[in-house]
């Protein structure tokens, strides 16, 4: 019974809890028992909230008994550990915040809890969300539930692994250059980044503020849509959150793609994919066509400049945002003879190599004499990218492309920093333009040198604020193809 219960979708769990067929406490207890049995193999969580989850589930049951029709009643969720949850350790996967306890709750998390979700734990991530494999976490190793020798993707890798291994129904992630979409693709999930500003960033520990966006990872499009509906909308606590009405997505998912034009990007380099993935993506485009879409070619002339643009803007913003970690008010402090030495030593001891690298790049790009040559030039290139998409969306409704250039890779396979940065090649342009985009499972491939088939993801991208169209189209594709259901994650049934 418990295994059956935890493998249900969030939508089904909420329906059961509301109808009284299961209680939120039962669901939470079954999920926590499952976490206890598989977590030593998966390593999705940095903190498991055993008692708080049961207490919170009891409150959900109480609210349901009082007649509240909570859309996420009793749905177990994993929260990426860069989002604050009052009274809970929130680490960003970093030694500098290893023992920091958040004194308030992020708006996105609060809205999920308000809708009836139950937080099972805080999920591992690359340190300060910088990375594409979770290997940059200073606090734990997370394994891909489909092959334990491979990474779950990143930076929201813990949230993705938790959902794939049934340690939660929905995961909250944050996406700066692909950090929801890539782990979604690696773990056979929907990974959805809404329009920049659609979901409040209040309580999300900042990495690159003009790019960071919270979104869900889920096993079905419907669950991703339910989470989006719960989280989206204006928040007075985030000055960049968008003050315009949200079109709810979960109740109006499409059955086909009739009348939609789907653009394939001419400039994206597809040679990196290899033959098998190339074939799978062509199959996916044909499936979109079979569902009624018109496939058209579109042009994004600056697509190939995305990485260069991003790896100036994101580190620049990171170097500024991470200046707050100075050992004075919270977090780690290392000793020094004077305050200056204390700063230098605290940051040296508290940050890992990737964070240091990006702080150095960003500091350099913003420093006197180099600012115009690097940072300003990158922000101008970003304008060109946004214009490219605007022109493309004059001739299509959605854009389809790969979510990542390879399936989940083995640990330590990308030890050169730039080879890791290349993982974001297909996801960065959408981030630069602030567009909503998601990855949806589109097939399986056996990686070079591997033995187990691994999932790959199709990325769909829509114009600003067209989340409803995007989720609707993804749902039609998911229901027609059912690629995600083809395999079960090996690690979800291994006991410790």
């Amino acid at each position: 019974m418990p295994q059956e219960l935890i493998e249900r979708s969030g939508a089904d769990i909420a329906a059961d809890v509301i109808a009284g067929r299961a209680s939120a406490v039962e669901v939470a207890a079954a999920t926590l028992a499952h976490v206890a049995s598989v977590e030593s193999n998966v390593g999705a969580y940095l903190t498991v909230l055993s008692e708080p989850a049961l207490a919170q589930a009891a409150r959900v049951d109480e609210r349901v008994r009082n007649g509240e029709r909570l859309p996420l009643a009793g749905v177990p969720i994993a929260v990426k550990d860069n989002m604050c949850l009052d009274g809970t350790r929130t680490t960003c996967g970093s030694k500098i915040l290893e023992n920091w306890v958040a004194p308030y709750t992020a708006t996105a998390v609060a809205r999920m809890l308000e809708a009836g979700a139950v937080a099972i734990g805080k999920a591992n991530c690359d340190e300060f969300a910088m990375g594409s494999s979770c290997e940059n976490s200073a606090l734990g190793v997370t394994r891909n539930p489909y092959d334990s020798t491979r990474v779950p993707g990143g930076s929201s890798g813990g949230s993705a692994a938790a959902v794939a291994a049934y340690e939660a129904a929905i995961g909250l992630g944050s996406d700066t250059g692909g950090s929801i979409r890539e782990p979604g693709a690696f773990c056979n999930l929907i990974g959805f980044k809404p329009t920049y500003g659609r979901v409040s960033r209040y309580g999300l520990i900042a990495f690159a503020s003009s790019l960071d966006q919270i979104g869900p990872l889920a096993r079905t499009v419907k669950d991703a849509a339910l989470a989006y509906d719960a989280m989206a909308g204006y928040d007075v606590m985030d000055a960049t959150s968008i003050d315009r009405p949200v079109e709810l997505a979960a109740e109006s998912l499409r059955k086909d793609l009739r009348g939609l034009r789907v653009g394939i990007v001419r400039e994206f380099d597809t040679k990196v994919l290899g033959d098998d993935m190339h074939r799978l993506y062509n199959d996916a485009y044909r499936d979109l066509e079979r569902l009624g879409a018109d496939i058209v070619e579109v042009s994004l002339p600056t697509a190939d400049y995305g990485l260069a643009t991003y790896y100036l803007i994101a580190p620049a913003e990171c170097s500024s945002n991470l200046a707050r970690f100075d050992g004075v008010r919270y977090g780690l402090r290392a000793q020094g003879d004077d305050v200056r030495q204390m700063y230098d030593n605290t940051r040296a001891a508290g940050f890992g190599p990737e964070v240091k690298r990006r702080i150095l790049v960003g500091t350099y790009a913003l420093s006197s004499g180099y600012y115009d040559a690097y940072y300003v030039r990158a922000q101008k290139a970003r304008t060109l990218t946004a214009r490219d998409f605007e022109r493309a969306f004059a001739t299509c409704d959605l854009i389809a492309c790969p979510a990542a250039s390879c399936p989940a890779f083995q640990f330590a396979a990308k030890s050169d920093p730039y080879s890791m940065y290349l993982m974001d090649y297909y996801t960065i342009p959408m981030s630069l333009a602030g567009l909503p985009a998601l990855s949806v499972p589109c097939g399986w491939t056996v990686p070079d040198g591997g033995s187990l088939p691994m999932p790959i993801g199709l990325q769909l991208c829509a114009p600003l604020f067209a989340e409803k169209l995007l989720l609707g189209a993804a749902h039609a594709y998911e229901q027609a193809t059912k690629h995600a259901a083809a395999r079960q994650p090996a690690l979800s049934r291994v006991s410790a």
Binding site: A308, Y330, R333, V339, M342, I359, V361, R377, L384
Partner: protein
């Protein structure tokens, strides 16, 4: 764009980051490599293009200048690495 060698010690000083000799060597090299990649941006014709400030919409956000609840002082100070009464304590900031 520029191709000067990077003074990594100076950048680290600006970033308030103590680096080991090994890190200076490694990060200096990696920074140089990354900058070679981003130098691709010099091929773009951007002379008349405005720099992005906001991707979605630009508007002023203000609020009424009035008292509202905030975090409790004890809650905040409880996280301090070192405190003295109601203050954050730091190593000396002035030399005699």
């Amino acid at each position: 764009m520029l191709t000067d060698p990077i003074d990594i010690r100076y950048v680290a000083k600006l970033a308030r980051l103590a680096l080991t000799e090994e890190e200076i060597e490694r990060f200096g090299k990696q920074l140089g490599e990354l900058l070679e990649h981003v130098n691709a941006l010099k091929d773009l014709d951007i002379a008349s293009v405005p720099a992005t400030a906001q991707v979605v919409e630009s508007r002023n956000v203000t609020r009424e200048d009035s008292l509202r609840p905030c975090l409790d002082r004890e809650t905040v100070l409880a996280q301090a690495p070192q405190r003295q009464g109601p203050f954050f304590r730091v190593p000396r900031i002035l030399t005699e």
